[in-house]
């Protein structure tokens, strides 16, 4: 359920990202305005297509479809020229436009195909609904493969690399009072853990605890601080380290509801004196050391198994 919903969103996104030139058919079968309807019939049949752009002196002058041919057949006008039966004032799209333009035009006018021209007006391709679908599927597949490769590489890192003790160290700087960018370190760490294939519940707990710790660094640490995650096959240790001002009374700081956060932080929905308690709940092990004047070191351990 969730997966298919995600992919629908992805293909909607792709409609905007993909350019028409990436999905169009480049080898266009064309006819000229002096081609006879009987010749057109053969062209359509041999190439198994249902229409073709019409050129005169290399310029796009119209489009002719199988419907036009059927009408001509019914009227017994098989020997008239395409020029007489074609649709003039052809609707076209540009090769550098996004696929959404084509999709919109198909939906608006009920067209089955649209000639693609470049900005100089020269015919460079043709696009059908089938081209759009095929293009989207191809792109989805490419992206899926890339994602798979990423996932594979990341999640097998601990199996592929042999040592007596393998560890991955991730270090994030946290700037003081920078609440706008606050949470970036936690966000990146969370993504890294997902990539490494950690269990979703552990990823969520580690993300929340790290975010609380990052928020504390932003609010309280004079010069900001660092978040260091040490990832080992059996556990993750996240440390939030700063150089001051330090916590006066660690025991009191741990009490639910105790907070020294300024008003501007409270207005943003934080600083209610619950962060450390929440970290304690989320982490499998937590250790807080602090000295006034020299700084604070908060360690959180998350067991992976």
């Amino acid at each position: 359920m969730k997966r298919s919903a995600l992919e629908i969103t992805k293909s909607q996104e792709l409609i905007y990202e993909l350019k028409i030139e990436q999905v169009m058919t480049k080898e266009v079968i064309t006819v000229t305005s002096s081609t006879l309807m009987s010749e057109l019939k053969e062209t359509l049949r041999l190439n198994r297509i249902s229409g073709a752009p019409v050129l005169r002196d290399e310029q796009l002058v119209g489009i002719i479809s199988i419907e036009d041919l059927i009408k001509a057949l019914e009227a017994g006008e098989i020997n008239v020229t395409v020029g007489e039966k074609m649709t003039r004032d052809v609707e076209t799209v540009f090769d550098d436009e996004s696929v959404v333009q084509v999709v919109t035009k198909f939906a608006q006018h009920g067209f089955g195909r649209l000639p693609v021209v470049n900005r100089e007006g020269k015919l460079v391709g043709i696009i059908t609904q089938g081209d759009v679908v095929r293009g989207l599927l191809r792109q989805l597949e490419v992206e899926y493969h890339e994602e798979e490769i990423h996932r594979y590489r990341a999640s097998h890192i601990f199996e592929d690399i042999e040592s007596d003790q393998t560890g991955l160290l991730l270090r994030y700087k946290v700037r003081p009072k920078d609440f706008i960018r606050g949470g970036e370190a936690s966000s990146k760490l969370k993504r890294a853990l997902e990539r490494l294939g950690a269990k979703p519940q552990i990823v969520r707990r580690a993300g929340i605890a790290t975010y609380e710790a990052e928020t504390n660094l932003i609010i309280h640490a004079t010069d900001g601080g660092e978040i260091i995650a040490e990832i080992r096959p059996e556990r993750i240790k996240v440390s939030a380290i700063d150089n001051g001002p330090g916590i006066q009374d660690v025991e009191r700081a741990m009490r639910p509801g105790f907070s020294t956060a300024p008003d501007w932080i409270r207005e943003m929905g934080f600083g209610a004196g619950m962060g450390l308690n929440n970290i304690e709940v989320c982490a499998d092990d937590m250790n807080l050391e602090s000295k006034t004047g020299s700084g604070t070191r908060l360690e959180m351990v998350f067991n992976l198994h």
Partner: protein, 140 residues
């Protein structure tokens, strides 16, 4: 309940782009305190809030909130919307108060995030172990 049903019940509007309204919402949380959201929600929750700063989106990202509903007709600043779009978190708006928006959804059967162990323990310690009514006052 799907996001689409939520939207109908709260008579809301979608305010971020590329929203998949078919996605499933399991429960809801109404809060203006982001610390509460981080502590007392589960993955798959929809958040109803009156706060509109980008940290609401960060909180939602960390807590794996499915979607955010801004109440009282509040609309978030562009930086909140763009962060939400980059994280794929749908943003909705409701003209009703937090209380009424929550009430409408709860009334239609969307459950809350339930009771959490630390909360229960604290509650029991204060109210259920001591028989006399003054216990609460003494402990606090």
């Amino acid at each position: 309940m799907t996001l689409e049903e939520v939207l109908t019940i709260i008579e809301g509007k979608v305010i971020s782009s590329q929203v998949d309204l078919s996605c499933e919402v399991r429960m809801a949380c109404g809060a203006d305190l982001m610390s509460d959201v981080l502590s007392f929600t589960h993955s798959g929750t929809i958040l109803l809030t009156g706060l509109t700063n980008p940290q609401v989106v960060r909180t939602a990202e960390m807590a794996e909130i499915t979607a955010i509903v801004f109440v009282r007709g509040k609309l978030p600043p562009p930086e909140t919307i763009s962060l939400a779009e980059s994280k794929g978190i749908p943003l909705l708006a409701s003209k009703y108060t937090l209380f009424e928006t929550c009430g409408r959804l709860y009334g239609e059967g969307l459950p809350s995030c339930g009771l959490f162990e630390p909360v229960l323990k604290r509650w029991q310690k204060v109210f259920e172990s001591a028989p006399d009514v003054n216990a609460a006052r003494r402990v606090s």
